[in-house]
Amino acid sequence: MDFYLTALIQGLCFAGIAFGIYISMKIFNIPDITTDGSYALGGVVTGAMLTHNQPGYLIFPAVILAGALAGALTGFIHTKLKINALLAGILVMTALYSINLTILGRSNVPLLSMPNLFTLINLTTNVNQNSLFILAAFVVGITLIIGYLLKTDFGIAMRATGNSEQMIRALGVNTDRMKIIGLAIANALTALSGYLIAQQQGFADISMGIGIVIVGLGSVIIAETIINWRQITSVWLSLILVLAGAIIFQFVLAFTLSIGVDANLLKLVTAVFVLLIVGLPRLASRKA
């Protein structure tokens, strides 16, 4: 049972990355690969600041700011230098690898003995349950903020930017600026996942971000499958589904490990699982 509790906790930690990918991919229609770098950036900023005994109220905004800067940089390269979004993301991700190593000082820093977000409040003596409560409150807060943002005039303009650029420019929106802000928000959220995972797992590692984009993509695709199937238009429901997608994704991985699949094959299983959720609805609709 503890096994699935850990998966639930991981899923909640990955909510940030799932929301981030939802914003970049679904709302802005931009395939953003900065994710791998900004996720690790969130982790290493957390690790470096914790080892330097910085207080938690500084670490959190620092992580958000670092992620936002990385995203804004990708956005800037994409919109102002007119470089393909995919390439812009890869460039920033590659550069971040060196930056992350510089910030952390070495490739891996253990954080187990340090006080962190999860030791902030002790509601129960069970460490995992305590983490779950804190995370749940954290994720509910993030979901409410994003949900509210998407309902505002600014949020509607954001959604229109990814949907009909010509229209929204004619309605007075600087779409370049909007994309830069959007990618900044997306990567700030991604960095937040790195921040949570580093504290939850008790270490920061510069390679923690490798291939992590698939976690976000998988979560969003699970959500999208349900959104398209039920023709959901509500912003709130979509966000809850993305969150559920992140948790389901971790459950599938936990289940895979629990039935004895070699952990080395986990990335392969992940890729096949995402392929299945993307592919099956298409095959099914072709038959119908």
Partner: protein, 249 residues
């Protein structure tokens, strides 16, 4: 209202396929004027419209709107004067967004898009009342994605959206080209009514010579990037469709 002085727009400058789409055009459009622009494909009509709207910046010349030099202003900054209707009904609306979301954005065309929720009950009521004037039965579907509507319905809503916020200039780029004849007539009727009701300065680019005769207070024929004919006032009102046909002979 709009003063265009000696503008030239060249595409692919210096390459073998260089085209001068607009060649030293000067034009004055007065307030409340409804200008219809006709001309063959490649005559520069749409380029002229894009230059006024700001998607393109001319190589030479200036564009002044209400005394403000807007020549180098990007499209999103000119939206405080200009509303646009595109040829493709999909371009003027965001299909995945609901009707009311589209109207909300249109209602703040000239204003900043802030971090508060402007889509309240009062706004819904206003949008419903506005949409009801179209008699299309869409007022009960405002939460529906606008992409589920037909091209004619979307084009009619786009027209209505343009007057949701203060609008001085309405640019219509072949707004009915993608519509069936009945929807086209309906959309042109709505456009004409709105232009009169809100006293808009309007520019319509069209291939439909019947519309060019029936609507507008001034008709301009373009060819090879220049103004060939410019007919205004009583002369425009007396213009017959057959005469227009002869222009293209």
């Amino acid at each position: 209202m709009i003063e265009i002085k000696g503008i030239t727009q060249t595409f692919n400058t210096g390459k073998t396929n260089q085209v001068t789409a607009i060649d030293n055009v000067s034009l004055n459009i007065e307030q409340d004027e409804f200008v219809v622009i006709v001309g063959a494909n490649g005559s520069g009509k749409t380029t002229l419209l894009n230059l006024i709207a700001g998607n393109l910046s001319p190589n030479k010349g200036t564009i002044v709107i209400e005394g403000n030099d807007v020549t180098r202003l990007p499209e999103y900054s000119r939206s405080k004067w200009i509303a646009r209707i595109f040829q493709n009904p999909l371009s003027g609306t965001a299909g995945d967004l609901s009707i009311i979301d589209n109207f909300r954005l249109a209602a703040i065309r000239t204003k900043p898009k802030g971090l508060f929720i402007g889509k309240d009950a009062a706004f819904s009521k206003l949008v419903k009342e506005q949409i009801a004037t179209l008699n299309m039965g869409l007022e009960d579907k405002i939460e529906q994605p606008i992409g589920t509507l037909s091209g004619g319905q979307r084009q009619a809503l786009t027209l209505l959206m343009s007057v949701m916020d203060e609008c001085k200039i309405l640019l219509l780029d072949e707004p009915t080209a993608a519509l069936d004849p009945k929807s086209a007539a309906n959309v042109m009727g709505i456009a004409n009514n709105l232009i009169k009701e809100y006293k808009l300065t309007a520019i319509l680019v069209t291939h439909n010579l019947k519309d060019a005769v029936n609507y507008g207070s001034r008709v301009i024929q373009m060819g090879e990037g220049a103004v060939l004919k410019d007919i205004i006032g009583p002369e425009k009102q007396q213009l017959k469709q057959s005469e227009l046909f002869d222009w293209f002979g």
